[in-house]
Amino acid sequence: MLFKKNVVIPEYYEFFNSVKIISGYKALEAIPFELSRLGAKRPIIITDKGVAQAGLIKYVVDSFGGTDTVVGAIYDETPQDSSNIVVNQIASIYRANNCDSIIAVGGGSAIDTAKGVNIVITENSDDLLKFMGNYRLSKPMKPFAVIPTTAGTGSEVTMVAVIANPEKNVKMSFTSELLLPKFTVLDPRMTASMPSKITAATGMDALTHAVEAFIGTQKNPVSDAFAAAAMELIRNNIVTVVKEGGNKDVRLAMANASMLAGLAFSNSMVGVVHATAHATGGICHVPHGVANSILLPFGLEFYIGKSPKTKEYIESLLLHVAGPEMYVQTAPAERAVKAVAAIRSITSELNKLCGLPVRLSEVGVTEDKLESIAKSTLNDGALSFSPVEVSFEEALGVIKAAY
């Protein structure tokens, strides 16, 4: 690794993302053209009840007005934890209505479900288990677009989907470049009605993605550029967006931050914060954004004590999470600790504004579950990208500190 303060050129790196990004006011109106470019005129819209009840689907359907594109069907019953049963049900609707493309409108669950539907339709098989894991897909997928209604997951630009299989009691994870949408539309109308607590949690999720990407083991100049831009947008907008949910400028800024963080972390990968957050979510059903928000400062503190190289990256992080003034005013030896403090001050302000939890004990995690969470952390794929080896005791230490 060729390293000279703030600029890291790895000996070797790869960066990939093929998603076209359409961002701005009335951006939804670009959808019919983008679909026609892909030879599609009859999409199925996959969403959930919350999105439908908020009236957001109307914006999407209205955008098709005056064109020859029609909506083949709207599925608005995607549950919070999607399953292969739902995926197969939607695939039947897709076939019965002669749809030719898929549009996901929603958060992580609707997007992951749509990715699952695309696998089932493309591979012409209703057994998703066969395609579980990394690089199991080989056929080019149906035209697929994503319209996120939260600003946090970054799923609109990532190549991963997680779908539950309740019969076998497993969470199936799918990773393939083929799962990437053809385009994504960031329109501030789609996130404007998000409640303040969810806005805060998803915003912190995006910040965690950007931070872990910036200190990640596959970090490179391209992912750094995206991560730094994301952190700057979040730093300047996260508090405002929670205070002024109807402000379209900050909504658009946060949607872009989430997308940029997604681009960064899907290439630079994440580490101990995500591994512990996934385990916490899996065992105690804590929402992913909330778990990330709570665990982020503790994960960074773990790295500061364990990896001198990562500590140097965390020092550079101060510039992006606290701003240039704070960065130059802080002595180099104190920058890493100050960077963590800057993140804590954001979460504590969000806690005061909308009650965003700052401890695992506040979100229903009980002490007797901590060991199971630590055990599950060790099997999480994100841990293979941690810059340091994490033992059971160390994982438990991070979780206990956050408890």
């Binding site: 790895p10 000996e11 070797y12 790196y13 790869e14 579980m132 894991g133 990394n134 690089y135 199991r136 994870s173 990773t175 083991t217 596959q218 990968m269 060790l378 099997n379 999480d380 794929g381 841990l383 293979s384 990208f385 340091v388 080896e389």
Partner: protein, 177 residues
């Protein structure tokens, strides 16, 4: 100007040396894993947590490979057997990458970070396999060499030395057999 017929197919040189080195390392790792399952409780615990029948393959795209099979209470190295399907496959993208990794010039963690290798199949089992391989590498290699291959090298104990001797004996026996 050249005629169309002057443009011939170009067949690149085979990388014999790299291929042989990688094959030898695959053999060592495969035999090492088989032995470690019998003598190391940590390896046994990991492998026993996998499904009853489970196959794991390490391969180079278009090059050598090694297959491990867990079946009916045993964990066996099956050599370079071709399979249609493996539960988890660790693939090196090129023989040169595999060669540089096997000879310690690129550490295994760095190879993962650089994307010079990728995992096909469940990453959860992939994590467990990596833990098994880490233990096997500490059995096969002296500590000063093991640090090129794994993130954290455990302290050398008498038990580890004995296990290392047994592993080498089994590998030697495997070569003769």
């Amino acid at each position: 100007m050249k005629a169309v017929s002057d443009y011939k197919e170009i067949v690149p040189k085979k990388k014999w040396f790299e291929t042989i080195v990688v094959r030898v390392f695959f053999f060592f790792i495969g035999m090492g894993m088989q032995t470690a399952y019998r003598i190391d409780p940590d390896v046994r615990k990991e492998v026993d947590s996998w499904p009853e029948t489970f196959s794991f393959c390490m391969s180079v795209v278009g090059g050598p490979s090694m297959l491990m099979l867990k079946k009916a209470g045993s964990f066996q190295y099956l050599g370079e057997k071709e399979t249609f399907y493996c539960d988890v496959e660790m693939c090196f993208k090129n023989i040169t990458f595999a060669y540089l990794i096997m000879t310690g010039r690129i550490s295994v963690p760095n190879a993962i970070y650089h994307n010079r290798q990728f995992v096909k199949g469940s990453l959860n089992y992939g994590m467990s396999i990596i833990r098994v391989m880490n233990i096997v590498q500490t059995l096969l290699l002296p500590n000063f060499l093991a640090r090129f291959y794994i993130k954290k090298v455990p302290k050398l104990t008498l038990k580890k030395l004995v296990n290392r001797a047994i592993t080498y004996f089994n590998i030697g026996y495997g070569v003769i057999k």
